[in-house]
Amino acid sequence: MKARIFVTLKNGVLDPQGKAIHHALEGLGFSGVNDVRAGKLIELDLADGTSDADIEAMCTKLLANTVIENFRIERL
């Protein structure tokens, strides 16, 4: 089984990378982009039967830094 972990910066945390992407989009002439936030997608290939609690623990212990990031788990 596989799971996807989406890691995103919390609201209110400055995202310099997103800002740079935003500027680059404007530089390419795309108007109407109000804001850009960059995050990460981590794909896990897991043993069948891996529990939700285990995946959650992987996120809180390593994959996301909950001081600055939120995460969302999507089982495939």
Binding site: V13, L14, P16, L63, I68
Partner: protein, 222 residues
């Protein structure tokens, strides 16, 4: 003083730190590989060096913070052993939960490598006793991810408890409240982005970093 410098894959300031510690204390530190599960008996100072451990993969310091040796570092910190984290070492300490907050990409997105002026905010810790409160010192920074972040409540607590050790005298990398270095609640763990080990002898262009190690020697004893 028996000191230990922790070496992670991708550390690159470990030898600089070892040289600075040996020059000031007269005793070479043990170089402890990150896979170790114990520190040498009687270790009375632990230093986490700068560098780009694990290539900054995932987040700076994130993977190193989960190294086997970090359990031993956390236990020693609990016992009151001074722990100094410089640059990547600071990032590792926040990721390990030994210090609050996080170090993010510099606000200007540039790697910043230059001397900066720092204001000493707390001159009473084991690390800063040889400085005067309010003094301005010059120490170099060399980092891409030194933008200190914590929520307002944490920042207020750090300031209220005198746990901001150093501030940038002028805005440098976007750090909240210009924070350059912080202490844990017990006062025995210091994380700082600037590199004191790069200012210990006149050939470095200044010696403002030397007093940090001298203060530690005085506190810990020879």
């Amino acid at each position: 003083m028996k000191s230990a410098v922790i070496v992670f894959p991708g550390s690159n300031c470990d030898r600089d730190l070892a040289v600075a510690i040996e020059q000031v204390t007269g005793r070479a530190p043990a170089m402890v590989w990150h896979r170790e599960t114990e520190l040498p008996d009687g270790t009375s100072l632990i230093a986490l060096p700068g560098g780009f451990s694990y290539g900054d993969y995932l987040r700076t310091g994130a993977i190193s913070a989960r190294s086997p040796v970090m359990d031993a570092v956390a236990r020693a910190a609990d016992r009151g052993v001074p722990v100094l984290g410089v640059c990547n070492g600071f990032q590792v300490l926040t990721e390990a939960g030994l210090l609050p907050g996080a170090l993010m990409r510099n606000a200007g997105l540039n790697f910043i490598c230059r001397d900066v002026a720092l204001t000493v905010e707390n001159a009473q810790s084991a690390f800063t006793s040889r400085y005067d409160a309010g003094e301005t010192i010059t120490i170099p920074v060399a980092h891409h991810d030194g933008n200190y972040f914590a929520d307002d409540a944490t920042l207020d607590r750090l300031e209220g408890e005198g746990r901001v050790a150093f501030r940038y005298a002028e805005a440098c990398n976007g750090s909240a409240r210009n924070i350059a270095g912080i202490l844990n609640a017990q006062g025995n763990v210091l994380g700082m982005m600037p590199h004191p080990e790069r200012k210990v002898e006149p050939a470095h262009g200044g010696t403002d970093g030397r007093r940090l190690f001298e203060g530690l020697l005085e506190t810990v004893g020879a």
